[in-house]
Every structure is written in structure tokens, then in C-alpha cells.
């Protein structure tokens, strides 16, 4: 996967976990939690989805780095490099 596709794919994973969230409405720089009440269950499901999709095992201690779309893309880019 190239770098340009990463944000779009991550966004698809977020909206699969939160099907009531419209992809177009997600603001990349603002925490998921502050935009649509992403909670600890959502974060766990997100970590599971990232493992499935990218093979990246996100330890709990790194959850804070998945807070927003921008942060998450940066984190994945680092882990996939």
C-alpha cells in the first residue's frame, strides 16, 4: 500500500467500527473521541482491525497515538517503514 492510500484505508476501518459515522464528516486533526465518542471498546476494535489490515500489533501503551486520523496515519507510516 502506498502512502496516499493509507488515510483512506484507515478511515474505512474507522467507519466499519462506527457504522453510524459518515466518512466525509471525519476531521483528520481532531481526536475520534471528541468527534464521535470513540470509546475504549471502539479503540480495541480499531487495534484489532489494524492488526488484520496491516499486520501491525498496536500495544495498549500506544493507543494514545491512534487518537485521530492524522496521528494514526503517522503512527502506521512509522510502524510500516
Amino acid at each position: 500500500m502506498n502512502r496516499e492510500q493509507l488515510p483512506r484505508r484507515v478511515l474505512e476501518l474507522v467507519t466499519a467500527i462506527a457504522p453510524d459515522v459518515e466518512a466525509d464528516s471525519v476531521i483528520p486533526g481532531i481526536a475520534f473521541r471528541d468527534q464521535f465518542d470513540f470509546d475504549s471498546m471502539d479503540t480495541l476494535n480499531f487495534a484489532i482491525a489494524l492488526q488484520r489490515e496491516f499486520g501491525v500489533d498496536v500495544p495498549e501503551t500506544d493507543y494514545a497515538r491512534l487518537a485521530s486520523l492524522d496521528q494514526c496515519v503517522a503512527y502506521l507510516a512509522e510502524r510500516l517503514a
Partner: protein, 379 residues
């Protein structure tokens, strides 16, 4: 023998629901527990199961019809000659052990707006081919398949406003009828927090647990040890439930709240309990709970652990008689052996029914939950 399949009440104040679709046709064989219909209620779209084995004789209510609770929806023949074995195969159902991701994959990919439109137009979304991202069904796909773009009166009264009205009605009834008492206690949950962190670091991501899973188990076990908190108060008397089904309050992102049960919570190992918890939250938010899950809770756990709230003073959902609340875990100064040390603290609360128990019994019950959390490895 003939059996009537009626629209069940899915909460103290549900009066009606709209039949959205049938999963069976006349002549189909169904088994106890099979989902045979989807009903749109103020708690979202609910999968309704049958409670007998039988063969569907007649469907009495067509999709799109709004009917009161108790309406006979279909007739079943319950004593029929045994069919060929391959006919008895129940359709695969979402079970514990699958994770939320798979549960989502099994459902039709459809936007909330399109699902709403499909209900209005009585379009069976299962038969549609989606043109949206990853084959998701869009509003346009639904409208193309629909008969004519006219809204149906059947959809009036459900959705977010309907759910809000139902919550208000249930809570008003609770405050009117139930003489509540409230207790709170702040406990050191450092051992549970540390145990969770160590556990979650050691297992694959799919096997990680949330603190809420430990709370669910602790509440269920405490109910087995202390009578008067897990059951129903009906017709002027309290009946303890022989099996503890802890309901978990799930906040919906559009606003609103549902509390489906984790069935037989006390006997489930934490891993299985967590799988079911994840599955039930995913389905609550996708609007696909089963009727039995909404009717079953004998007590509810409401956890506001993801917010900055310290204490929740929870209101009982009738006909239950108790509800346990949990605030957020936070590091607090704690006195251990005469010294101030930082510990992870959690405020547990109890709303309980004075018709059944008093504060002293409630205090024992809360203390038992705290004691169970102090030894997480035994949960």
C-alpha cells in the same frame, strides 16, 4: 398443535413496533431461538426469535406494518412430522467467539441513511447490490429498488426521538414506582488495572480485555452471593432470578441507550464474556440486537469509564430492582499503612430498590464487588 408467535415487549414501556422483514416463509421449519423476524422499535431494529420448534403456517402481518405489543404476527404448527435431517439445519447465527469485526462483515453493508430509507420503502436490503464503497448499499440503490419514493407512515414514532421518549417513559416510571436508595464507594482497583495491563500485553490483540468485562463478571458473581439485587419486581412481589443475566448499558453515538444482556454472566470465563460483550456492543450500535437480549437483564451495569465522570447515580430499569454504576478510573492519593501513595481508584455505585433491600444489604453487595475486583486473576 398451533402456536401463536406474538410481538414481545422489549422493555417496560414498549407499546408497538414495526415489522420490517420476515426471515421465514410459510412452510419453513424453525427452531427455538431462531431469528424469524426483524422489528423496528424505539430501541433500534431488533431480531425477534421464536420460542418453540415448529413449522410456519401463516404470516399474519406484512412487512411495513406497525402493530401493538402482543399482536399475533404468525401462526406456527408445533407438532409436525419430523422432516428430513438436512431440513433441520438452522441458519448460521452470530455467536460468541466471533469478534466484532466479523460480526460487522456478516451484515449487509449499508449506510444508516440507506437503511432508514429501505425501511420507509419496504425494500429488502439483503437482495440489493450496493454501488457504494466496498459494495455498500446507498440511498440511491434503495430508491432504485423501491416501489415509489413515498415515505411510509409506519416509520413515524421510531428512531432517535422514539428512543428518547421510551427512555423518558421508563425512567419516569422507575422514579415514580421504585423507592430508590443510592450507595457509592471508592475503591482501589490498582490490582485489577495492573493485572489487565499485564494480561493485555501478553495476549494477541483479539484476546485483550476491557475493565468493563471484569466489572460485569464481578457484578454477576456478587449477585450469586447476595440475594435481592438480580431479579424482577412484578405484581407487587420480588422474584430473584435463578440465573444472573447482567445487562450492559451501551451508549449509542446518535444519542440514546440500550442495555442488552450478557446471558448467564456469572458462569462465563472472562475470555468468552469479553467476546460476547464486544459482539453485543457492535450489534447494539448497528441496530441488530435480539429480542431475548433486551428482555433478559436481571440487573444492569452502567459504566462511564470512558468519560471523566467520577460517580454515576444510576436509575433502576423496571421491573429490575438494582443497577450498578462505575465511574472512570483515575490515579488518586491513597493511604496505605500510614503513607500516602498513588493508587488507581474507581467509584462504584448502586441504585437499589427499598421494596426489596436496605442500605446495609446494599453495602455488603457493593463490598463484595470490590472484593472480587481486588483479586482479578480469580474472576
Amino acid at each position: 398443535m398451533q402456536s401463536e408467535f406474538r410481538l414481545p415487549a422489549l422493555g417496560a414501556d414498549m407499546e408497538a413496533g414495526t415489522l420490517v422483514e420476515w426471515h421465514v416463509a410459510p412452510g419453513d421449519r424453525c427452531k427455538r431461538g431462531d431469528v424469524v423476524a426483524v422489528v423496528e422499535t424505539d430501541k433500534g431494529a431488533i431480531d425477534v426469535e421464536v420460542f418453540v420448534d415448529g413449522i410456519v403456517r401463516e404470516l399474519l402481518v406484512p412487512p411495513g406494518t406497525r402493530v401493538p405489543v402482543g399482536t399475533v404476527l404468525a401462526l406456527l404448527d408445533t407438532e409436525a412430522p419430523a422432516p428430513a435431517p438436512e431440513m433441520v439445519q438452522a441458519p448460521p447465527r452470530t455467536r460468541a467467539g466471533e469478534d466484532a469485526g466479523e460480526a460487522i462483515q456478516q451484515r449487509v453493508k449499508i449506510s444508516p441513511a440507506a437503511r432508514k430509507r429501505a425501511q420507509e420503502l419496504h425494500v429488502d436490503v439483503v437482495s440489493l447490490r450496493g454501488t457504494g464503497p466496498e459494495g455498500a448499499i446507498t440511498v440511491q440503490d434503495v430508491e432504485r429498488a423501491g416501489p415509489s419514493p413515498q415515505p411510509s407512515p409506519a416509520s413515524v414514532g421510531e428512531g432517535a426521538a422514539g428512543m428518547r421518549a421510551a427512555i423518558a417513559a421508563a425512567m419516569s416510571r422507575s422514579k415514580r414506582e421504585i423507592p430508590h436508595y443510592y450507595l457509592t464507594t471508592t475503591v482501589d482497583v490498582s490490582s485489577a488495572v495492573d493485572w489487565l495491563a499485564a494480561h493485555n500485553a501478553a495476549v494477541p490483540v483479539t484476546e485483550r480485555l476491557l475493565l468493563a468485562a471484569l466489572l460485569l463478571k464481578a457484578v454477576a458473581l456478587a449477585c450469586r452471593d447476595h440475594a435481592g439485587f438480580s431479579g424482577f419486581h412484578r405484581n407487587g412481589r420480588y422474584e430473584e432470578s435463578p440465573v444472573v443475566h447482567v445487562g450492559v448499558a451501551v451508549a449509542l453515538r446518535g444519542g440514546g441507550l440500550v442495555a442488552p444482556a450478557i446471558m448467564d454472566t456469572a458462569t462465563k470465563p472472562l475470555a468468552a464474556l469479553m467476546d460476547e460483550f464486544r459482539d453485543v456492543v457492535a450489534r447494539a450500535r448497528a441496530g441488530r440486537l435480539r429480542a431475548s437480549e433486551l428482555a433478559a437483564p436481571t440487573i444492569i451495569l452502567t459504566s462511564l469509564g470512558d468519560s471523566a465522570v467520577e460517580t454515576v447515580l444510576p436509575i433502576i430499569q423496571p421491573p429490575q430492582v438494582a443497577i450498578v454504576g462505575a465511574g472512570a478510573v483515575a490515579e488518586r492519593p491513597w493511604i496505605v499503612a500510614g503513607r500516602i501513595v498513588p493508587r488507581q481508584a474507581l467509584t462504584l455505585s448502586l441504585g437499589a430498590d427499598h421494596r426489596v433491600t436496605d442500605g446495609r444489604l446494599g453495602a455488603h453487595f457493593l463490598a463484595r464487588i470490590a472484593g472480587l475486583l481486588a483479586e482479578p486473576a480469580k474472576l
